[in-house]
């Protein structure tokens, strides 16, 4: 099935010439820091099978990082107020120096943790299933997946000024039976994501009808 999903890059290189019925194109970036990556060739995940191919790798839209980045910038410049408000003057000089070092060390940890949380909380669409990877804190993770043929309904919502301006929103995926429902939160181009998932489901149904199920 993977041959029916083609990126913009492939289209330009002519790999999609002779588009067949039911063929879809997934447009997206190849930048590893992007929140919407199509057909990433160098991305693998722990439960991936040999034949399984990643079609979309999604993260929360980059604009959702602005609050912690703004806070980090504020915290970075916060020690500049010390000459105006001498809060640490009661400490000996060596303790003042250590306080400053500890401050920037903790700020580094805050920035790194925030980046890790954004970078590794991903939503993966493969040619067989959808996977939601959540890292809640330092050592707790939750991976939820749903097979493509179990998808019943896919909807998306884009509400609010920021979401409308930057075109990101939540994609809700309802599944049949005991499979968990999935929610892709604040992903870019939710309409495109829904389209890809719907096409994926259609292809799975066709595979079942044609007896080509892996």
């Amino acid at each position: 099935m993977s041959d029916i999903y083609n990126s913009e890059e492939n289209q330009k290189s002519g790999k999609t010439s002779g588009k067949k019925k039911g063929e879809i194109c997934v447009r997206g970036s190849k930048n590893p820091l992007s929140a919407y990556i199509s057909n990433p060739t160098k991305v693998t995940f722990s439960s991936q099978t040999d034949e399984e191919q990643v079609i979309l790798l999604l993260r929360k839209h980059w604009i959702t990082n602005v609050p912690w980045i703004a806070l980090a910038v504020l915290l970075f410049f916060a020690p500049l107020i010390l000459p105006i408000f001498p809060l640490l003057d009661f400490l000996p000089e060596r303790y003042q120096l250590m306080s400053l070092i500890a401050w920037y060390l903790m700020l580094t940890a805050f920035i790194f943790e925030s980046f890790l949380t954004w970078f590794f909380n991903v939503y993966i669409v493969t040619d067989e299933r959808l996977i939601d990877v959540d890292f809640y804190n330092l050592i707790y993770k939750q991976i939820t997946e749903a097979k493509a043929d179990k998808i019943q309904d896919t909807t998306y919502r884009v509400g609010g000024v920021l979401r409308s301006v930057f075109n990101y929103g939540d994609v809700l995926i309802q599944t049949a039976g005991a499979e968990a429902n999935l929610e892709f939160e604040a992903v870019p181009n939710p309409n495109e994501v829904v389209k890809v998932i719907q096409d994926l489901r259609t292809q799975e149904e066709m595979e079942v009808l044609e007896g080509r199920v892996r």
Binding site: Y95, I101, V122, L138
Partner: protein, 80 residues
């Protein structure tokens, strides 16, 4: 007994508050080193779950952070 009490009192009055603070700060920095080690483990688990081009970069940053935390711990022991 009286002499013993006086010597005990002299001992406690000779302790500077900054000496006590040094132990607390050192302990806090040691806890931070433990936290940095957990971050290294976390980065390892994350890159195992999702492996891409930036995996090496993420693990390197985590190790540098741990190294700096250890360095700051020893720096604290020396300068405080």
């Amino acid at each position: 007994m009286n002499l013993s009490f006086e010597s005990l009192l002299a001992f406690f009055t000779s302790i500077s508050v900054w000496d006590v603070a040094k132990y607390f700060v050192s302990f806090a920095l040691l806890l931070y080193v433990a936290f940095a080690a957990v971050v290294v483990r976390q980065a390892g688990l994350m890159t195992e779950t999702l492996h891409d081009q930036l995996a090496v970069f993420v693990k390197t940053v985590a190790f540098i952070h741990l190294a700096v935390a250890i360095l700051v711990f020893f720096l604290g022991l020396v300068i405080l």
